[in-house]
């Protein structure tokens, strides 16, 4: 039976980002792995029975400062239940924190509660984002951006002190420009 839609939106649903990304990833996976995933191509929302988040105990946590430590994450996220595993997101090249992590709980309910009560609140004075996740796999702890960090930190136009200043691609571009600008100003 389909659940009745609540009169108020629920905060413990996966984000639009997840649903879109999943859709894309599946097509990608299919190409890459020659279609060994037999559920590939199905629209995620139409398939409740094979919803990978049905019993999800893991959360993706985003918008952390690069300086936020595991201990801080533990302290906050333990308020929703005992943490089974914590995997910090790392820069692919430097192996330094790059502003995200995966938190795994023992129960699905704890993960849902975390979405409701912790997602969108502050940790280390930054509003953090949580998203239900089908589970950590080796390799996912690394940033997928060109320069090793997260993709969003490549082209970010604002200056974010907690996440290495400007977006890296933009910073590089500006460095080049500055050189030209300098010449003209003089």
């Amino acid at each position: 039976m389909r659940a009745v839609r609540a009169t108020v939106d629920r905060l413990d649903r996966p984000s639009a980002y997840f649903n879109n990304a999943r859709h894309k990833r599946r097509r990608f996976d299919k190409d890459q792995r020659d279609g060994d995933d037999d559920t590939a191509g199905m629209h995620p929302e139409n398939r409740e029975d094979d919803d990978p988040l049905k019993n999800a105990t893991t959360l993706y946590v985003g918008n952390l400062s690069f300086f936020t430590t595991e201990e801080q994450v533990y302290e906050l996220f333990s308020k929703c239940g005992e943490i089974k595993r914590l995997v910090m997101g790392l820069d692919r090249f430097n192996k330094t924190p790059c502003g995200f992590c995966f938190v795994e709980y023992y129960t699905h309910q704890d993960a849902l509660d975390c979405m409701k009560y912790i997602g969108g609140t502050k940790l280390d004075e930054r509003i953090i984002r949580t998203d239900l996740d089908p589970g950590f796999e080796e390799g996912r702890q690394y940033g997928r951006g060109k320069s090793g960090g997260q993709v969003r930190d490549e082209y970010r136009e604002d200056y974010d002190e907690g996440r290495g200043g400007l977006g890296r691609a933009i910073a590089r571009e500006r460095e080049g420009k500055d050189f030209v600008d300098d010449g003209r100003l003089r």
């Binding site: 201990e71 509660d113 912790i118 997602g119 609140t121 984002r129």
Partner: protein, 859 residues
């Protein structure tokens, strides 16, 4: 962030769905489909179908203070009745949505009732449909023990009493009371009966507000008086468990306000006072009473069709439901003020407003933004002029005229959240939910909410010493978490004098504990910058080090060379034999020095594991994982050796107890430590070494509390599993765990009893320290109370688990009979009808089925 913001922002319940569109669409250029879409303006601005508009308007009812309530109600009612014939989706959906709203957004119930009353003047069959569904839902919830839903549905039906024939809701309330009496006479410890009486008492005012003055006077007043006379006995009887859930725990002999009043006895008294004043019920909205100017509607309402409330079968046996029930007491963080900023406990408004707010808070746990919004807008949902203007500063309340209300909506809302945060034994949801509601409320209306929170904090701080220790800890945990969401700003200067107090003073303990928790969520230097100078010394330089010193780096430490050697071996993941050799050496040296060899080697080894893993929790967990066999062996070797494991952890991380506690938790999971070791170390070893001062440390309480919760959580899990036939949990495992749990509680009680009574060895030793020993005894007493309560709750859980299962079974059997009777009845009627009407009947039946089909369509 865009994703998040969009989702969070849509939470007010106003937008309905939203958020589902594809972001990419906006950027896609030259799409044929898009062009077509943009080019055809008329298609874009088409009106949504009636059932969609109706849903939207109904959900948002009463939210907008700029709309006249009666206009809104008439409009919604007309939208419904105008489309009754054309839009088949509408009929079933409307009634379903009303019933869903009254359990999901209970503040809106009276306004929904208003819509229903107006609908009834035009399409009375809609009211029949609704009452039938409501009656069935109430029956379902009664069988499940869904007491809150029973109450919320009854509230709606109560608001409709004006169009009910005969006794209406009074009949149901009367029968419910019969059940309560049965339960209460069977056992003085019964809580279900009390819950039922609470529901009766909270429904009654809505019933009384539903009638015209004549109706109330002539028909209902006597019924209400009879009911109240009956409930008085149950409501005034203090429950044996009340002493356990008392939020304050004053010192013996201390001048203190009398024991808190139970919610139910207050409610009884408030209702009796209200009855004496002819049921004025001035805080309740009456949206079904239209202004005399609207002659037509008023006349229609007066002559509207009346309905029979369908029979509601109340099972002979009632179940407790999914949550344990406890007596409740009245608390407020805004008591004893010069101006009343919340309704006083003598006023019925205090119970009615709070009850509606608490239901809202606990029901809307899935969207804290929506909860916070409804809390802030509480004045929309009660009678006009119930509250002072939103955002009136507390200082200005005294300027308000005598005849007008000084109740600050912000204070009333914040007070309600705090009652949940400070509810013993546990609130319905995780404590962090209530934290998050306060955070959101503060974000939505900082200028209005923040000062109210500030006054609450001051009240709680003043009263922290006499609060139950569990609640004092919750206060500290909330306080530090809240500050972490608002830049760690607090007017610490006002508590500056308390910095000089002894570490044993509860207020000093609160300060120290809060700062530690703040640092755990942030870092020492940051927190230091937020504190005035006198507090700076509470954060020593060692707090700012990322990694604690390795004691074996210093040659003066015994076994320094061996310590460094083991650390080096662990770092390069050397084979076990190499480590064995060093450990052998430590042990033989220890014997030479007349030390416990096992304790000495355990200390060195554990400290080295911690040092090697000091970079982060992942590092230490990996280090423990690699060495878990050796650690387990060390733990199993002797009690002293096992105690040394926790001693080493707590010592190495003494400056950052948060880290130590996480490590202990994992060691418990690996069974390297046992719960008993943790308790013994905390309450005997560490507390002994500090002559009881450790009892004042928040992290010590946290350590013991977490350990106990871990053990009791496991027992509960096993008990629940054992009751399910397909789960393979044998009785022996369960009984073993139960025995261990009892043993743990006994050990806790023994130690704490000695501290509380001043008979602990360390206290009996020479040079007694009068004042300090007094404080230690007080800490012992407060601790003892917390864990005695935990024990009582767990024992009750074990007993209740069995009883509840039996009750469920009885209810199930009983219901089978009812269902069979109903089926037979229906079949008999159908047969009769067929016989009577012949061919005509068949057609009518078809029509009926049509309606039923529509009901099942959702949205």
């Amino acid at each position: 962030m865009a994703d998040y913001d969009r989702r969070g922002g849509g939470g007010g319940g106003r937008g309905g769905g939203g958020g589902g569109y594809n972001r990419k669409r906006r950027y896609r250029d030259d799409n044929e489909d898009d062009n077509h879409y943009r080019g055809n303006n008329s298609r874009r601005r088409y009106d949504a179908p009636p059932h969609v508009r109706l849903r939207k308007q109904l959900i948002a009812i009463a939210e907008n203070p700029m709309i006249e309530r009666h206009d809104e109600i008439s409009q919604i009612a007309n939208l419904f009745t105008d489309n009754w014939d054309d839009d088949v989706l509408l009929r079933g959906n409307f009634t379903d949505l009303v019933l869903q709203l009254c359990v999901e957004q209970p503040l809106k119930t009276p306004f929904l009732a208003g819509v229903l009353m107006v609908v009834n003047t035009n399409k009375p069959e809609a009211m029949d449909l609704l009452l039938e569904k409501a009656a069935r839902l109430i029956e379902d919830k009664l069988r499940e023990g869904g007491w809150r839903d029973v109450k919320l549905y009854l509230k709606l039906v109560g608001c409709l009493q004006g169009v009910l024939e005969g006794e209406g809701v009074f009949g149901v309330l009367g029968e419910l009371f019969e059940r309560a009496v049965g339960l209460q006479t069977a056992s003085s410890e019964d809580t279900i009966g009390t819950e039922i009486v609470k529901i009766i008492l909270l429904t009654l005012p809505y019933v009384m507000a539903a009638g015209s003055p004549e109706q109330v006077q002539q028909e209902w007043q006597q019924k209400a008086a009879d009911l109240l006379e009956n409930t008085a006995i149950i409501a005034s009887e203090p429950h044996p468990l009340q002493a356990v859930i008392e939020p304050y725990h004053p010192e013996a002999g201390e001048e203190n306000p009398a024991q808190s009043q139970s919610l139910i006895s207050l409610l009884q008294a408030q209702l009796q006072a209200e009855a004496a004043q002819g049921w004025a019920l001035s805080c309740l909205p009456r949206p079904w009473q239209f202004p005399v100017g609207e002659v037509e509607t008023v006349a229609k309402l007066a002559s509207a069709k009346k309905h029979v409330l369908p029979n509601i079968v109340i099972p002979k046996t009632v179940v407790r439901g999914p949550r344990p029930l406890f007596p409740e007491v009245y608390i407020s963080v805004y008591g004893q003020q010069e101006v009343e900023s919340v309704p006083p406990p003598t006023s019925l408004a205090s119970s009615l407003i709070r009850d509606a707010l608490l239901d809202t808070i606990n029901v809307l746990h899935f969207n804290r933004n929506a909860t916070a919004r409804q809390l802030i807008e509480v004045d929309c949902y009660f009678a006009p002029r119930t509250f002072a203007l939103r955002g009136t500063p507390f200082d200005r309340l005294r300027d308000i005229e005598k005849s007008k209300s000084t109740w600050k909506p912000e204070d009333v809302a914040v007070d309600a959240v705090f009652t949940q945060l400070f509810l013993l034994p546990n609130p319905e949801h995780k404590l962090v939910y209530y934290h998050s509601v306060l955070t959101e409320a503060c974000k939505l209306a900082p200028a209005a909410i923040a000062p109210s929170l500030g006054r609450a904090i001051r009240y709680l701080y003043r009263n922290a010493p006499r609060m139950d220790l569990e609640l004092a800890y919750r206060f500290m945990d909330w306080f530090s978490h809240h500050l972490s969401n608002f830049g760690f700003t607090w007017k610490w200067t006002e508590w500056v004098d308390d910095v000089e107090l002894s570490g044993l003073h509860p207020r000093k303990a609160f300060i120290v504990g809060s700062i530690d928790k703040e640092i755990r969520l942030s870092f020492a230097q940051r927190i230091k910058n937020t504190l005035p100078e006198p507090y700076q010394k509470l954060i020593g330089p060692e707090k700012e080090k990322d990694v604690p010193d390795f004691k074996f780096a210093n040659d003066d430490t015994p076994f320094a060379a061996e310590g460094r050697e083991i650390a080096a071996l662990l770092k390069r993941k050397a084979p076990d034999e190499e480590i064995d050799a060093v450990i052998q050496r430590i042990q033989s040296q220890a014997i030479d020095r007349d030390l416990d060899a096992l304790v000495a080697s355990t200390d060195v080894f554990v400290t080295c594991v911690l040092y090697v893993g000091s970079k982060s929790l992942s590092h230490v967990l990996a280090a423990i994982e690699r060495t878990k066999d050796r650690l387990a062996d060390a733990g199993a070797a002797s009690d002293a050796s096992r105690t040394q494991i926790i001693e080493a952890v707590m010592t190495y991380w003494s400056v950052h107890p948060g880290v130590a506690l996480s490590i202990v938790e994992k060691l418990l999971n690996y069974s390297i430590l046992t719960p008993l070791t943790v308790i013994n170390w905390a309450l005997n070893v560490q507390a002994g070494k500090t002559r009881g001062e450790a009892l004042a440390w928040a992290h010590m309480y946290e350590l013991v509390f977490n350990t106990v919760i871990k053990v009791t959580g496991r027992v509960r899990q096993l008990v629940v599993k054992a009751s399910q036939p397909d789960e393979m949990v044998d009785d022996e495992t369960r009984d073993n765990e139960v025995r261990n749990m009892r043993e743990l509680f006994r050990a806790i009680e023994d130690s704490l009893g000695a501290w509380a009574g001043g008979t602990k060895d360390e206290m009996l030793e020479s040079n007694a320290r009068g004042e300090e020993d007094g404080l230690v005894r007080r800490w012992g007493t407060r601790w003892l109370r917390v864990f005695k309560r935990r024990q009582a709750i767990e024992e009750a859980f074990l007993v209740e688990a069995v009883r509840e299962r039996e009750r469920r079974e009885e209810v199930r059997k009983e219901w089978e009979v009812v269902e069979r009777q109903r089926r037979e009845e229906r079949e008999r009627k159908e047969a009769e009808e067929k016989e009577r009407n012949g061919a005509n009947g068949a057609e009518e039946k078809k029509k009926e089925n049509g309606v039923e089909g529509e009901v099942n369509i959702i949205e």
